[in-house]
């Protein structure tokens, strides 16, 4: 028994099996957490409005016509089979004891996990509203927007300009805009080689920048052009009707305009009061408990996890640890420390992958990067065949994680 306690932390407590945990949001964070809680024998209800989940990782390959959208879509049947009660409804309100659903019902909770992902901050970029997004898709929540951007790309004449507007940090998937630019260039190179991708960035530095910059030169030459904040490229307003975006200095027209707008924690985090003035949710690092709401945890893109990026890998890693901490807290056991990892692959082309990794520890209530660990794929002396292998690993990662989360 002593050894059991030492190695794994033996939880025991009379009230645990009766405890109910509600998880709001069925993406990589929420679905993983609900599933792990069910494995722990805890009664868990997952509330997710959509009957089908459309995953963002790899959705840039859908835009570049290299992948069917169906490969991004998952039902919740596997999660239900794993012992999670799945409710397809929307959480519209939260108080200290229960959540209110849009079908009129209420769910009592002992602990609540909020995993709402992002919502577009429609007040964040003048001119960019829901109507504008039908003309200038963001495609930053996968699904109809992804397909809209693909249709526009297919319809664009050779010689056209694709403009991608990239917001300042923080936002979902830091390297995502640059992978998207790469894969759109991959499509254009094959089908519309006189065209161009112009990235207008609100930042001067971005994730995996040296790898992207070199790969663009190698693979795409003049096809990809990136302009940063210092060059005055930050988009400050859009005019969807005339097909233009405005920077401080000029009006830029595009044949296809992909506006990746400012974002914040998803709706329910805002309504519940879990988000602060930044629009994101402060947490106690080790347990993911909200610093603003008692017995409420926040995971994934919505949470302020400091050095950990807003990625599916991070969300999945956080969710598994959070489930253990929730179980321990319900059993009046102290939380257990654990390091977390993030590994994000990006594709320059379908067979050309790069990666960034990090190892993180919760210290002084902050998720910190462990110095000396992590970093991007080696620029020099990369082992031969590494880019192809990293593309293979990217696909393997996607297969493994989606099976772990949605399979069965």
């Amino acid at each position: 028994m002593g050894l059991v306690g030492l190695l794994s932390g033996c939880l025991s407590g009379g009230g645990v099996t009766k405890a109910r945990v509600v998880v709001a949001g069925g993406g990589f964070a929420g679905a993983t957490c609900a599933r792990t809680l069910a494995q722990l024998g805890i009664r868990v209800t997952l509330v997710e409005p959509n009957p089908v989940y459309t995953a963002c990782p790899f959705s840039n390959l859908v835009i570049s016509t290299d992948r069917p959208i169906q490969a991004q879509q998952f039902s919740y049947a596997g999660i239900a089979n794993a012992g999670v009660e799945v409710r397809h409804a929307r959480v519209v309100g939260v108080d200290a004891q229960r959540v209110q659903l849009d079908d009129g019902s209420r769910l009592d909770y002992d602990r609540l996990v909020l995993a709402p992902g992002i919502e577009i901050n429609w007040d964040g970029l003048p001119g960019y509203d829901q109507a504008a997004a039908e003309l200038m898709p963001h495609a930053w929540q996968a699904g109809a927007q992804t397909l809209l951007l693909r249709r526009q790309l297919r319809a664009m004449p050779d010689g056209g300009v694709v403009v991608i507007s990239v917001p300042d940090n923080p936002y979902r998937c830091p390297p995502g805009p640059y992978e998207r630019a790469s894969l759109i260039a991959h499509y254009l190179k094959a089908h519309k080689p006189r065209s161009k991708v112009l990235i207008l960035d609100a930042k001067d530095r971005f994730s995996k920048q040296p790898l992207f910059t070199r790969a663009w030169q190698e693979q795409y030459g003049q096809l990809v052009e990136w302009q940063g904040r210092s060059a005055g490229a930050a988009v400050v307003e859009v005019d969807a009707q005339s097909g233009a975006v405005l920077t401080d200095f000029e009006t830029v027209r595009g044949d296809v305009i992909n506006v990746i707008p400012p974002q914040r924690a998803g709706f329910i985090a805002q309504t519940a009061g879990a988000a602060d003035n930044s629009g994101w949710c402060p947490i106690q690092a080790g347990t993911f408990e909200s610093t603003r709401l008692d017995r409420v945890h926040v995971l994934g893109d919505a949470a302020i996890a400091n050095a950990m990026p807003k990625s599916a890998f991070s969300a999945n890693a956080q969710a598994k640890l959070c489930a253990v901490q929730v179980a321990r807290l319900l059993a009046d056991q102290p939380p257990q420390p654990a390091k977390l990892i993030n590994t994000c692959y990006s594709l320059i082309a379908p067979e050309y992958g790069i990666s960034v990794a990090g190892v993180y520890t919760a210290e002084k209530n902050t998720w910190r990067s462990i110095p000396g660990a992590g970093g991007i794929s080696p620029m020099l002396q990369a082992p031969a065949g590494a880019p192809r292998l990293e593309a293979e690993y990217a696909r393997a990662w996607y297969a493994t994680i989606t099976r772990e989360v949605f399979g069965g």
Binding site: C10, L11, F74, L389, I401
Partner: protein
Amino acid sequence: MSKTLTVTALLTGVVTLGQGVFAEVVDQRIQVCGGCHALGAPAGGQGHGVDGQVQVEKQTIPPIGGDPEHLYQLMIAMKTGQRAVTVMDRILRGYTDAELKEMAQLLGALGNSGDPGDLGNRGSQRSQVK
């Protein structure tokens, strides 16, 4: 019975939930490995499409497990650069040797017998999940 439970507890982490209900999850120190390596199950391979269609994807990331000492030596070889890999060197540098030894024990107990190397001798020693 109690011996079985104790052994299981040692190996995978058992959470005891009142009234003799036992649930098993992978120890939190190695949960994160499952982000890529599919712990305790055949790795990758199948996705579940909404139409019930199973999507098969090529699996190249090996499962991890097997003899803890062998696993520990492999991790050290990757961490120190003796074994060429794409990403694991960057990740393993985030852990002390003592932490890796502990994780090797926990991973070894999962029952897989795979070789986690990649560029060094990819696939040559890979074996199937039990």
